[in-house]
C-alpha cells in the first residue's frame, strides 16, 4: 500500500472512531508539507467516499457519517484560514432542503462536498416558488436537493417543470430517504441523478464537467 492510500485509510478509521485529535494529527501534522488540495484529494475525498458506501451497505451508522463530515469540514476551515488557497466556485453548486423541515441530510451533503474542495451555496430550507427564483437568479449549475418526506420528494417534479418554464437548465441532483427506498423515484420526478452517498454526487458533477 502506498503512503497516500495508507493516510486515507488511517483518516477513515479515525473518522469512524470519531477521534477528532487523530484526524487532526493526520491532516495537519502527518501531511503538513503536502499542499492543501492534495491533502483533500488524497486523504479526505477517499475517506469520505468510502464511509458513504459503507453506510449504504449497512456497515457504518449515520452518526458516523454526520460526525466525520463535521470533522473534515472543520479541518478544511482550519486549513483554508491559514492559506491563500480557496475552494473551487465553478461550477456553481447550491444545496437546498426542499419544503421539508429536516436539515441533517442537506448539511451532511454540503459538508462532504465542501470538504472535497468545492464550494456549495447553502440555501437552507426553501419552498418551491422562491427556490425557482433563486436558482434562476444565481445561475446555479448543480442543485443538490434533499428531502426526507415522500410528499417533498414528489415536489421535485413541479420544481423541474417550473425551472424549464423559465428556461433554466440547472442539473438536479436529489437524495434522502424517499429516493433511497424507491430506486426509480428520481427518474420519475425528472431529476438528473441520485445517490445515498454525497461523494457520489460530486463524482457525478465532476464527470459531467469533464465531458463538457
Amino acid at each position: 500500500m502506498g503512503k497516500k492510500e495508507q493516510l486515507a485509510e488511517e483518516l477513515e478509521a479515525a473518522l469512524l472512531a470519531i477521534d477528532q485529535d487523530a484526524c487532526r494529527h493526520i491532516i495537519m501534522d502527518d501531511m503538513a508539507d503536502v499542499p492543501i488540495l492534495s491533502r483533500i484529494e488524497n486523504a479526505i475525498v477517499p475517506a469520505l467516499a468510502s464511509i458513504g458506501v459503507k453506510w449504504r451497505n449497512g456497515d457504518v451508522a449515520l452518526s458516523q457519517v454526520y460526525l466525520s463530515a463535521k470533522i473534515t469540514d472543520a479541518l478544511l476551515e482550519e486549513m483554508l484560514s491559514s492559506s491563500h488557497e480557496t475552494l473551487a466556485s465553478r461550477p456553481k453548486v447550491a444545496a437546498v432542503c426542499l419544503e421539508d423541515h429536516h436539515l441533517l441530510g442537506i448539511h451532511v451533503v454540503r459538508m462532504v462536498v465542501r470538504s472535497s474542495g468545492y464550494d456549495v451555496v447553502d440555501y437552507g430550507r426553501m419552498d418551491l416558488e422562491p427556490l425557482v427564483e433563486r436558482v434562476c437568479r444565481d445561475e446555479v449549475d448543480y442543485l443538490l436537493i434533499s428531502t426526507l418526506m415522500l410528499r417533498s420528494a414528489l415536489r421535485v417534479e413541479k420544481l423541474k417543470e417550473k425551472l424549464e418554464e423559465r428556461k433554466c437548465d440547472a442539473c438536479l441532483i436529489v437524495g434522502g430517504a424517499p429516493f433511497r427506498y424507491d430506486a426509480s423515484l428520481w427518474r420519475r420526478v425528472g431529476a438528473d441523478f441520485t445517490s445515498s452517498s454525497p461523494s457520489e454526487a460530486l463524482e457525478f458533477i465532476l464527470s459531467r464537467e469533464g465531458k463538457r
Binding site: 449497512g58 452518526s63 458516523q64 436539515l103 448539511h107 427506498y181 424507491d182
Partner: protein, 346 residues
C-alpha cells in the same frame, strides 16, 4: 380450520404458532381522513372520526389491527413544540423546543392529561376499545425517550449531545422516560392491547451497536420493565440485524423488519423469540402494479411467516398517503391468498 377472530389470529402468531392465516397489519393513519372526507389536521383532532375510520378500514380490508397513532410530533407538543400540517402528507414537528443545554436542566415531564393532542389519542383508543372489545387488538404507539430528542432539539444537536455530553443526555432521558411511561400506561389503560415503542434512533442505520449498548438499549430495557402490556420495538425501516440479540434481551415480544435486510436471516436469528412485523416497502407502494403487490406479499410471507411469529405489514409503520385504495385492497387480498396456513412450499 374455523376462521379465527383478529385477536385469536394475532395472539396465536405471537405465541409462535400458526393461526388460520397470516395476521395483517395495515398501518393506515392519514387514510382515515380521506375516508372521512376531512383534512388530516381535522381528522387527528377528532377521536370520534379516528375511531370510526379505524373500525371501518378494519372491516373493509379485513385486516387484524386497529391503530390509534396520530403523528409523532404530538408527543413534542407536550413539551411546548409545534406541528406543521400538510394536506397530503404526515404532520411534521416545527422548531425544536430545546434551544440550549440549559433548557434541558429546567425540563420537567409534562402531564399527559393537559396535552390536547395526546388526549385525542387516548380518547380515540377508548372509543376503539368500546367498539371492538376483545375481538381486535388495538395498537398504541409512543416515541421512545431515546428517539424523541430528534424532534425536541434537532437531529444535529442531538448527535452532538450523544457524543459529547452524557450528563445532559442522562438528564434528558430521565425526563423523557417518565413522560413516555406515563403516556404508554395511559394508552394501555384506555384499551391498547400492545404498545409499539418507536425507536428508530437505536437502529444501526442511525447509531452503531456499541453506542446503542451504551444508550438506547438501557433505556429500552428499563422502559419495557416499567410499561404495562406487551411491547413491540419499531425502527421505522431502520436496520436491526446487528442488535437483534439485544432487542430480545430487552424483553420485547415483536420487532419491525425492514426491506433493507434479509427477512430470512432475521427469521433465523429471531424466530421463536420475536414476532417479526414487516417488511413491505411503503415508499414503493404508490407505484406497485398488481403483479408487484402479489410478488412482494408472497415473498414476505414465504420468508417470514413459517411457524407463526409473523405479522404482514409495511416496514415503516405508516402507509404513505399517496398509496391508493386499490393497492391497499390488493395487499389485503394477496395476504389472504398467500397467507393461509399451512403455507404452501415455494
Amino acid at each position: 380450520m374455523k376462521a379465527m377472530s383478529s385477536m385469536e389470529r394475532v395472539l396465536t402468531s405471537l405465541q409462535h404458532k400458526e393461526p388460520d392465516r397470516v395476521p395483517l397489519l395495515l398501518s393506515l393513519t392519514m387514510h382515515g381522513a380521506k375516508m372521512q372526507g376531512v383534512s388530516i389536521q381535522k381528522y387527528f383532532s377528532s377521536p370520534q372520526l379516528m375511531a370510526e375510520a379505524q373500525v371501518r378500514m378494519w372491516k373493509k380490508y379485513e385486516s387484524d389491527f386497529l391503530n390509534s397513532f396520530t403523528y409523532s410530533s404530538a408527543e413534542v407538543e407536550a413539551f411546548g413544540g409545534s406541528t406543521i400540517f400538510y394536506e397530503d402528507g404526515p404532520p411534521n414537528s416545527g422548531e425544536p423546543v430545546i434551544q440550549a443545554l440549559e433548557d434541558i436542566e429546567s425540563l420537567e415531564p409534562p402531564d399527559v392529561q393537559t396535552v390536547k393532542s395526546l388526549m385525542v389519542t387516548i380518547e380515540a383508543t377508548r372509543r376503539m376499545k368500546a367498539a371492538v372489545g376483545e375481538e381486535v387488538p388495538i395498537l398504541g404507539v409512543t416515541i421512545s425517550p431515546f428517539s424523541l430528542p430528534v424532534m425536541q432539539m434537532g437531529f444535529e444537536n442531538y448527535f452532538d449531545l450523544l457524543y459529547s455530553d452524557m450528563e445532559h443526555f442522562r438528564s434528558l432521558m430521565k425526563v423523557n422516560t417518565e413522560f413516555q411511561l406515563q403516556y404508554a400506561n395511559m394508552l394501555v389503560e384506555a384499551g391498547a392491547t400492545a404498545i409499539v415503542y418507536f425507536d428508530p434512533l437505536s437502529s444501526t442505520t442511525i447509531i452503531p451497536r456499541a453506542k446503542f449498548l451504551e444508550t438506547g438499549f438501557n433505556i429500552a430495557r428499563d422502559a419495557v420493565k416499567r410499561m404495562h402490556g406487551p411491547i413491540v420495538a419499531h425502527f421505522a425501516s431502520g436496520r436491526i440485524l446487528p442488535i437483534v440479540d439485544k432487542i430480545i434481551e430487552a424483553g420485547f415480544i415483536g420487532v419491525s423488519a425492514s426491506v433493507d435486510e434479509d427477512l430470512k436471516i432475521l427469521k433465523k436469528l429471531a424466530g421463536g423469540k420475536l414476532t417479526l412485523i414487516g417488511n413491505l416497502n411503503g415508499m414503493e407502494m404508490p407505484n406497485w402494479t398488481a403483479e408487484q403487490i402479489d410478488q412482494n406479499v408472497r415473498s414476505a410471507i414465504s420468508d417470514g411467516a413459517r411457524g407463526g411469529g409473523f405479522v404482514l405489514c409495511d416496514n415503516h409503520g405508516e402507509i404513505p398517503y399517496q398509496v391508493s385504495d386499490e393497492t391497499i385492497q390488493g395487499i389485503a387480498d394477496a395476504s389472504r391468498k398467500y397467507g393461509k396456513y399451512p403455507l404452501k412450499r415455494t
